[in-house]
Assembly symmetry: C2
Homo-oligomer: 368 residues x 2
């Protein structure tokens, strides 16, 4: 697969919602944005990161803010492009490609909409291999790509340029500006050369989203009862193969959700017929799954909550009482599990007082 077009758009969007691991906002909005662009341009070219030429200069475009806001104040391709132009002015060079910051949610879609509008190719990879809530939480950052110029733009033509070597500081200075911009800002950051793209990217995650979406669609067409099982079978043969496991099958018993400081934070509690409980705290994305009080999956591994019938991903802002769901845990790829990576995207970076344990090493006496 080397392009995104109207034929595979729905699969792609379905897959980005799953890779959103709870975050990234309503996929329907991303779908509308991208469909509008594809109807004009036909298709978007994907470039395998290992084939990125030396003279490539790519930029990450993304939304910053709480997904609860994105559904009311919709991201804007035009504003994103203004930020990108401001970054070009800062750097003194034009971008000739776009690279997604995240593999999940709206931030997996927005870069493609921008690329389509500008006729640029998109790198088939990203900096998170999923979605994360903060801007320093990227392979780009802990592999040594400079985040600055970190350009924020709002829908009124105003821009804020943060110049720093420290991505955590960019996040810290940018987040309250995003709140003042109305809870959402468009960001252009992590300008990357071809060499950096080859070295610092989680590869093939646009394709991964496509394949996840296709797997779910085909499972539904075949009438499979357990779409989560279909995904587990797919992850066994994905490139690279990834360990995955059903962590829970039950219903939503309680949701605590608060939009504050530029994020949506809270916790969802699930219960099954046998009376077991699963608690999943979130900061935009699901951070940890505990089965009867014991951690069974934790950041940076991926936690997905899927509708039990359709297999569609349920994002943090659409969680509600009584939903029947399956929870899936998926191993993060090796570049996201190095000691350097865990300092930035491991449990302690999310304020959780425990070390990372790979999902495949966690003793399992659950319900799968």
């Amino acid at each position: 697969m080397t392009e995104i077009n109207l034929d595979n758009l729905d699969d792609f969007i379905r897959g980005t919602a799953v890779l959103g691991t709870g975050g990234g906002g309503d996929p329907y909005i991303g779908s509308l944005m991208l469909r509008q662009e594809l109807e004009k341009c036909g298709s978007i070219q994907l470039i395998n990161p290992k084939d990125a030429p030396d003279d490539m200069l790519a930029v990450s475009v993304a939304c910053m803010g709480a997904p609860t806001v994105f559904v009311e104040k919709i991201p804007n391709t035009k504003t994103a492009i203004e930020g990108m132009r401001r970054s070009e002015k800062e750097i003194g060079r034009k971008f000739n490609a776009v690279i997604p910051l995240e593999a999940g949610g709206l931030n997996a879609t927005l870069p493609l909409a921008v690329a389509a509008r500008l006729g640029l190719p998109v790198v088939d990879g990203d900096g998170m291999g999923r979605a994360f809530p903060e801007f320093q939480m990227t392979t780009f950052n802990f592999s040594g790509v400079r985040c600055a110029p970190f350009v924020m733009s709002d829908d009124f033509g105003n821009t804020v340029v943060i110049d720093t070597d420290d991505a955590s500081r960019a996040e810290s200075y940018g987040r309250p500006v995003c709140v003042k911009m109305g809870g959402i800002a468009q960001i252009a950051s992590y300008a990357m050369t071809g060499e950096e793209i080859r070295r610092c990217t989680v590869p093939r995650t646009v394709t991964l989203a496509l394949e996840i979406g296709r797997t779910l669609r085909e499972a539904r067409i075949k009438g499979e009862q357990n779409t989560a099982e279909a995904l587990i079978s797919y992850f066994k043969i994905s490139k690279p193969p990834r360990f995955s496991r059903t962590l829970f099958d039950g219903k939503v018993e309680d949701v605590l959700r608060e939009s504050s400081d530029g994020w949506v934070r809270g916790q969802v509690n699930l219960v099954n017929d046998a009376g077991n409980v699963m608690d999943i705290p979130f900061q935009n994305e699901y951070s940890r799954a505990s089965f009867d009080g014991k951690t069974v999956a934790i950041n940076p591994d991926l936690i997905m909550i899927l509708d039990r019938e359709t297999g569609e991903a349920i994002t943090t802002e659409t969680l509600r009482y009584g939903q029947r769901v399956r929870v899936l845990g998926v191993a993060a790829v090796p570049i996201m599990r190095t000691s350097e990576a865990l300092k930035v995207i491991g449990p302690r970076a999310f304020g959780m007082d425990e070390d990372f344990c790979p999902i495949e090493n966690i003793a399992w006496n659950g319900i799968d």
Copy 2:
């Protein structure tokens, strides 16, 4: 008087503290900063705004934040110059003068320290004619000078550039960044041409600070008991003459003070021997003086709290129980009282539900 030098430095600093109208931080810090520079360069040249040549390009340098923070995390000339250089890069021209944003407090001193370091002249005027807590509250803004590029710099070499036509928005985006920078940021903003300097400045406020400081010193040398009276006599003959009045003579009974959101806010309550009370709320600076519940002076007119013995200004962060004080009210100059001005620096801009009434028109049955 056409220069600031080591001989008149103490008078100048004393005057800026008075014009700080409660805000602007401990004048001692500004005094140390400026003394250090003057010991190297000898003197700083002042330029009357009406003599600003067309080819002049001046920049305002200032600190943003709560004065309670300034006394612990001291403003830094080097950081201010870095911000100024970043602004020059943005504009594509070098600055050949510095213009104070405020006439009072540290922000009246910092621009002179920067100018001394760089060998640049300083415009004898400013954008507030006193101190105000927010960055849109300047004659520059409501006379049509663009605030952007609004450059913020911290002590670690990081910069944030806000590009907007709306000074209130620059304030709104910049304030939380200032908090994240540690409660203080150095700002370079309101780049102004000679034409704009001639048209949009409160003139001769560096000289005004000097003359206020000299008046207080001379009154003390002469052994005058009431230094506030000496100031009132001076304001009758200042250029231009300004109405002024003693509003209260009493002691501090209570202080409520909170540093939050990048400001220091609160209220001081005074009481006199006859049992009258005066309440003065503040947001960095004193906003209103009420005598037994009746407003007797209000923004943008100037309210000063002076030590009863020495006549030295008392800033909001040094207010404490039991201080014996005199409160002075001084009329703002006409450029600060136009209808355009009052929208930005009148009572309602500070959340007070009353209209501006010039201090000289307020019926007076007080204690002077």
